[in-house]
Symmetry: C2
Subunit: 228 residues, 2 copies
DNA sequence: TTTAGATTCAAACGTACATTTCAAACAGGT
DNA sequence: ACCTGTTTGAAATGTACGTTTGAATCTAAA
């Protein structure tokens, strides 16, 4: 059944699974074409190169996710009074879960792939991402800034990246974590449950009080800078 | 100057830099021996294999760090009243920064390597780590449990893993993040600064209020809580 | 000085990789 | 049925990898 997919589709499906599991550089085109049951040369025929295949795998999700996120951000930015940090983070939930319509386990797949894009050395991916979706993320930064006016821009920058790490790492090891959680706590853990657990964690983290200079001076003379 | 190191030492130094920067699988022995200015075969002669070299690079730091952490944990566990979550997390700072005595930029190197160990696919490393240092980490779990008695065990489990993700991901992409931060905010970002930024973030996150069942049901109207 | 063990060296081994080539198979419009 | 452009196929190209080999060189005790 389901063998009447196009070669391109079969390649994309096989590639995303292997990429998510093993990383981009550690997954060979031979593994991909073998799993997809297509000829080795077809990757270069249909996608040009391995690099472009990686980008195509991500684009399948980004083209669905980012416009959805963008419209949510625009909606929040139009609000009269600033939104709370947990309101801002909440808008991620539905768009992310809708990636499950793109593909089975699409949400988990996408988030794992996103993590690989950051931890593997893929300069072309960073450029690709910022070039296509930088504007959307700028809106997010603005929203968080409004939600947490006490945060200096540089502190906000770091906390957003800390949060990205939380999400990405959790999704990367989701399978193992879910297994342990179910064995130890008898809890049925799906991707939605994990995302909902993340919300209060991240909300509290991003809005955490900023230590004063005095507190810093103990072990570290870090200049708390203001950005521009 | 400083050319009178043993071949093993030169290999370890070169390997840790390249491993931290590029990952374990994406760094070749030829790159390592070329940077170390030693013969290609000497890695296999002195360490046996690439796997064992990876473990040796990590052991140089773990043998210093873990006993220090262990004694800190034992000290905290002996306290009369339970320690706060930020007290518990604070004990990581000094032992981590003392890794700079093991080697220049030792702290950053070690944390990046730790991140690589989790994100790269290195089954042997996971086993190696749990086998040697599982008992130390059990003490940490106990301390956090005492600091946050309101947290159900399953929630604590997830939040500790969220936090591990924060640290590991941040260190894995530390170079890129530091570059951006310096370019955008004119901040000199060293590893100590990042660690000190992580403390309040993680403290607030781990101790975040646990949402009630009712709050879960909608899309997530999570109350923005105050830390501790 | 001799000698035995530890270390270094250049070269090769076998394997795996991304990519290219070009002929074969296929498709749909005429 | 014929042709044209698209897709697939098997094989080969050149490069890089981890590891092994065996001779050359060093080191230090006898």
């Amino acid at each position: 059944m389901a063998s009447k997919q196009s070669t391109q589709h079969k390649i994309l499906d096989a590639a995303q699974s292997l990429f998510a599991e093993t990383g981009f550089n550690d997954t060979s085109l031979r593994q991909i074409t073998s799993l997809a049951e297509v000829n080795l040369a077809s990757v270069n025929y249909h996608f040009g190169s391995k690099k472009e295949l990686i980008q195509a795998v991500l684009q399948r999700y980004l083209l669905v996710l980012m416009p959805r996120l963008d419209q949510e951000f625009i909606r929040l930015l139009a609000a009269q009074q600033p939104n709370s940090i947990s309101q801002v983070l909440s808008v991620f939930v539905k768009p992310l879960l809708e990636l499950n319509k793109v593909h089975q386990n699409g949400t988990r797949m996408f988030l794992q792939l996103l993590g690989r894009g950051y931890t593997d050395v893929q300069g072309h991916l960073r450029w690709f991402f910022n070039h296509h979706y930088g504007a959307v993320l700028d809106k997010l930064v603005l929203l968080v800034q409004q939600a947490c006016p006490a945060l200096p821009p540089s502190e906000l920058f770091w906390r957003l990246h800390f949060s990205l790490g939380t999400v990405v790492f959790t999704m990367a090891s989701n399978e193992a974590l879910a297994e342990i959680a179910e064995a130890d706590f008898n809890e049925n853990v799906d991707i939605e449950g994990v995302i909902l657990r993340l919300l209060p964690y991240l909300s509290a983290a991003i809005a955490a009080p900023v230590p004063t200079i005095a507190q810093f001076s103990q072990t570290a003379p870090v200049a708390a800078g203001e950005g521009r």
